[in-house]
Symmetry: C2
Subunit: 403 residues, 2 copies
Amino acid sequence: MSAIKIIKGGVTAAKSFRAAAVFAGIKPGNKNRKDMALVTSDLPSVAAGVFTTNRVKAAPVRVSISHLRAPRTDAVLLNSGNANACTGPHGIVAAKTLAGAAAKALRCALRRVLVCSTGRIGIPLPVDKMTDAIPGLVAGLSADGGNAAARAIMTSDTFPKEFAVEARGEGGVFRVGGMAKGAGMINPDMATMLCVVTTDASLTKKSLQNALHSVTERTFNRITVDGDMSTNDTVLLLSNGAAGGPIIKPGSPDYTLFVEALHEVCLKLAHMIVTDGEGVSKFVTVQVRGASGMRSARRVAEAVANSTLVKCSWAGNDPNWGRILDAAGYCGVPIREELVDIYYDGVAAVRGGMAAPTPKERLIKAVSGKKFTVTIDLHQGDASHTVYTTDLTEKYVQLNLGE
Amino acid sequence: MSAIKIIKGGVTAAKSFRAAAVFAGIKPGNKNRKDMALVTSDLPSVAAGVFTTNRVKAAPVRVSISHLRAPRTDAVLLNSGNANACTGPHGIVAAKTLAGAAAKALRCALRRVLVCSTGRIGIPLPVDKMTDAIPGLVAGLSADGGNAAARAIMTSDTFPKEFAVEARGEGGVFRVGGMAKGAGMINPDMATMLCVVTTDASLTKKSLQNALHSVTERTFNRITVDGDMSTNDTVLLLSNGAAGGPIIKPGSPDYTLFVEALHEVCLKLAHMIVTDGEGVSKFVTVQVRGASGMRSARRVAEAVANSTLVKCSWAGNDPNWGRILDAAGYCGVPIREELVDIYYDGVAAVRGGMAAPTPKERLIKAVSGKKFTVTIDLHQGDASHTVYTTDLTEKYVQLNLGE
């Protein structure tokens, strides 16, 4: 029996976290959908964050990075409809004003509030409307508010993304749960992945940051739909210790368990994001093995996963291994063509750089599935890397033509 | 008055070059279109070549690189319908067999024949059919054969690509002319750019190679449609000295003139390739300036030109500068958001990293054209780079779904 079990709920599944959502009318014309969310902890909590590495960083990203330097974090304020990106110094002021309004309503210090925005780039936030909505948000906070919050941060997402687990460790039971919204590919105007995870396990800020960093590396940093990286991407993790167990120390069995639980939540949310990409018809796992090093493995996997031609062939149920080999060849890794094997769901398409003697029907069958794995064995070493991606459909292009 | 004028013709525009095309039936079902071409020089000629940097190189690329080590080159044998790529040792034997058959018919040494193939990857060449067709090819060679050859190397190209110029230098008049076929994006199964340029100017093999290298860098290496790079990409340049002038020496005014003429031919052919990309509706010039170095300028230009989201917005006539700034931000160049200006056809969309006060209609008008220029000024230095690219349309995806 596994020590980790899936439970209902999301960002408020862990004890003493509450959430709420309200309609502020951020995006003109978006009349009925709630567009602001707040997540808070009843107990003092510590937080960790991983942010976009894009040089162009949205104002809320800059403000949250700065606020995360504070030892404690009490809340995360989120909005959809406007990314508050490429808005200059005014954008920073707007993000701080909102954090300040939330801090005032929650009676905590400004730096204890983190902010996340997603939506159109380059348009000033309607700050007044948003500050006006904050008292209502605070009044609505509830332990059942996780789902409403997950819905309020949706942009073109077709379903709210929530997941939670409960783990039984040596120091007792703790929970990890989170919510997310989809990434760049989903819609050009709302090009952001946001994720907030909470836990009632007790960890130091430093351990929390290390755990989040390593898990993000293996989950959210391994999904790619179109290779574009947003200015707003943010993953936050809050720990309030409400489960009552002792502090989980790095290196302990409970730390391993915690990282495992966090990994399960983040991986599930990452997969949901990929699956919900607009116009996406397939979920493809690209697995590179036999690489001479980690970097090479990653580079090949990403080149294949981001190749427009490879992705189009998947949409067309075409087991076109030539395009896969081509992408592996141009990504700058010194692969040796004559050593490369390629498989679709374990069925050999290429052996030693040439067509394998597999009946084409079997390959077509594999690539026709809604979910399949492409394995590329470079036979040059022991390193491997996996990325999760999608096909590229006409619908994707149609959805991304613009306004 | 410029010393260079455009003339009719293509690969046989220069004196003493001949070409021919025949139907060999390389691709099953392709019943009527000529699929093999031959270009020869009546006088001994020297040749230069630039090839794909993909680690996966097609057999004809490997054989041509080897044959180019010979001091003289008499002919180039080309085919469409089959790329002879990922075909292992048999592919090399096939390419050499074909070069040998052409050498025999032309009564020259094997190494004086270069080979180019384009078409489906991973399928053995029908060598017998092709060798049978070679005597007919040789018999058909003519100074008027350039257009037939340009047509025979077409795959999904919608028009033959030919261009030629005549230059009047100090050492007399010389001509440069060439033919090309489209690049990777055009059709997944025929993912190759091929180009053969001839000149009756007289140059040493070494000067020829230097000239071709520098010109390719500024022309064919600056076009991108989908970021995919083929296993077969080849640009060849043959010089036979038939114009009668003295050897053109590097550093001389005539060398500068020759490079200019070669540049004009290659740039025109490169633009034709971009314009003829299947599903392409726009020709976009992406110009980066104010970069801190050449590499940075190139990186930003290529990231913008290859961004799926940016390309989709162009297809949709959406002046979405946020996606451009986003792509510039994630490509690894330390740009400073607050310094960046972006223009569509000279109309400011972004000033200092924020929306410029330009009426949106003016931006929409610019991006709605069939041809426009996006200029990104990083204001960090003096380096610049230009790439030529296209939009990304639903039709592109539809054409690339597979067989």
